[in-house]
């Protein structure tokens, strides 16, 4: 199987959907002539022209509202936020206009739009450029929230997101744009929104994760294997709708769970998963659900502090051992 970077997988997803459907267009800062701030849209301007690949002024609030209006009037916009930190400027349009309008209009007004871009920490870009917005968006009824890790999932799920009639928040990661993974082309059409993937089977404990935390957890799982702990790793892939069935079935098998996210712990994705397990698998749990998240601080710049703030392989190992009563 050929290997492809996540960046190229995302570009190919957009390319294929834009070829299939004239209504799909890409808009965002530097997506056209600059070829994308992170080069995800490289080559798209050349193939599709300025009508369908549009450089916007630096006005997130305005261009998000404009894209939402165009979706209501029949187009299928893909809006790139250079990072989701900048999308906070546009929060009202994402939540009040995109997410809620189908409901408020009794099903009349569609909003088939994809908001995509880098989410979470990059490297040393400090507090205002490093937040993870997964739980903010997953909180809102009406939004679909996806956060893939590898190339096959990135391509498959971005294609599905563009095809979806709902507003989709598609959370990428700046560091993993450059990671290469095997592209399983035959699987691409079959991967669905709302389905997690068990990336490693195990028997002693379930660990859930998404996006770059999959790398951290897989690393930890290797180390834990040596200590005789068999970890079952679940890559969530979609955060909303959450694949609770896969998570609960796994917990029923392993009887223990640690959930991992890059964002903060208060009201996080991991809070939701912990609550889910207590509500739906209480009798199967042999230990309290554990969580590994960012420390409750704005992300610092200094290299050592940044490492301490974000979830590390050591943090995951420690929490897994604690949850297995082997600390």
């Amino acid at each position: 199987m050929a290997k492809i970077t996540v960046r190229d997988a995302l570009r190919d997803a957009m390319k294929e959907e834009m070829r299939k459907d004239d209504r799909v267009f890409l808009m965002g800062e530097e997506v056209a002539e600059y070829q994308g701030a992170y080069k995800v849209s490289q080559g798209l301007l050349e193939e599709f022209g300025t009508k369908r690949v549009i450089d916007t002024p630096i006005t997130e609030h305005g261009f998000t509202g404009l894209a939402v209006g165009s979706a209501m009037a029949g187009l299928k916009p893909v809006v790139e936020f250079m990072t989701f930190n900048f999308a906070m400027q546009a929060m009202d349009q994402i939540i009040n206009s995109a997410a809620k309008t189908n409901y408020m209009s009794g099903g009349q007004v569609q909003c088939p739009i994809v908001f995509r871009g880098a989410n979470g920490a990059a490297s040393r870009v400090a507090a205002q450029h490093s937040q993870c917005y997964a739980s903010w968006y997953a909180h809102v009824p009406g939004l679909v929230v996806i956060s893939p890790y590898d190339s096959t999932d990135s391509k498959a799920l971005l294609k599905k997101a563009i095809q979806d009639p709902n507003p989709v928040i598609f959370l990428e990661n700046e560091i993993t744009y450059g990671y290469e993974f095997e592209l399983n082309e035959s699987e691409v059409d079959d991967i669905e929104i709302g389905k997690a993937r068990i990336v490693k089977s195990g028997t002693d404990i379930t660990v859930t994760c998404f996006s770059i935390m999959v790398e951290v957890v897989m690393e930890a799982a290797k180390i834990l294997e040596k200590s005789g702990i068999s970890v079952e790793v679940i890559d969530l892939r979609t955060l909303k709708p959450l694949d609770s069935e896969t998570i609960i079935n796994s917990v029923k098998k392993t009887n223990r769970i640690v959930s991992v996210e890059e964002g903060w712990s208060f009201c996080g994705i991991t809070s939701e998963i912990s609550a889910l397990c207590v509500e739906q698998a209480f009798d199967y749990l042999d230990a309290e659900p554990g969580r590994v998240t960012a420390k409750d601080v704005p992300l610092p710049y200094a290299a050592n502090l940044e490492k301490l703030a974000l979830p590390s392989v050591e943090d995951v190992c420690e929490m897994v051992k604690k949850t297995c009563y082997k600390a």
Partner: protein, 340 residues
Amino acid sequence: MNVKAKKLKEKDLMPKVTTISKEDFLKNYYNMLLIRRFEEKAGQAYGMGLIGGFCHLYIGQEAVVAGVNAALKEGDAMVTSYRDHGHILACGTEPKYVMAELFGRETGVSRGKGGSMHLFDTKNHFYGGHGIVAAQVPIGAGIAFAMQYQNKKNIAVTFLGDGAANQGQVYESFNMASLWNLPVVFVIENNHYGMGTSVDRSTATAEFYKRGKPFGIPGEQVDGMDFFAVYEAMKKADEYSRSGKGPYLLEMKTYRYRGHSMSDPGNYRSKEEINKYKEKYDPINNFKKYGIDKAIVTEDDIKEIATKVKGVMEEAMEFSKNSPEPIASELWTDVYRETE
């Protein structure tokens, strides 16, 4: 119709008109009177507890949406804020479905799930109905963007108030609309008050029609209490935008007789000011007076329209009172759309 628009002068309230057919006159008189009577009924129903939450009435501003609508063509779109009852009626939606929505019934335009601020009728190209001040402005620019993208020869009209006109996203929209030559006409309904704060107290330079100038958008100030002035200005803006020259800005000087919403006691303006507008500048009375003075219509024609409106409104109230609320399972529908 062949009219000349003028700025408002006390002694000369209606411009000189060369021709308007009786049919056109009565159609527009009906449109304005319908909005007036609808809003009066909505106010009463609110007082009786049949309408809840927020309810923002358009009484006094009827000439703005009616004059704009008279200049539009099939397929043109309108979008506005929460003061939207007049706009959806002008787009052609039957009053009974609008009133039913205000009553929160399943027969309402939004199936009872939106209410007064979230009226929609996409078949009639009415895109809402938006609760957040000025959020409709980039949305309107986006609708125009879609029209241009799809090579439609249509325009989108985006209404906003004097209060909304200070919001940042308005200028972001002006910039993109001008940059990309979007076929959008921005209509600022300047009724002089954003809720209780007058334009004098909120706005550094209150000539709103000039606000597009830094972005290359032509603008005009219009007497929004005069149907003909509105119509003429809109025709000009329409021709400009529809021909691909880009956005246009119209500032309509208008006035609302009632408070910002039903919960507004209105302590920020005098009774004298309100009465001055009601007595001298009422858009419907002046339009009617003009039609009769120029012998375009007779008193009987006017009475006939009034009777028709009365009948339509009675039906709307009955229909709404008798419509059921949505069934409980509707709580869960329309959160997401199914893939077709």
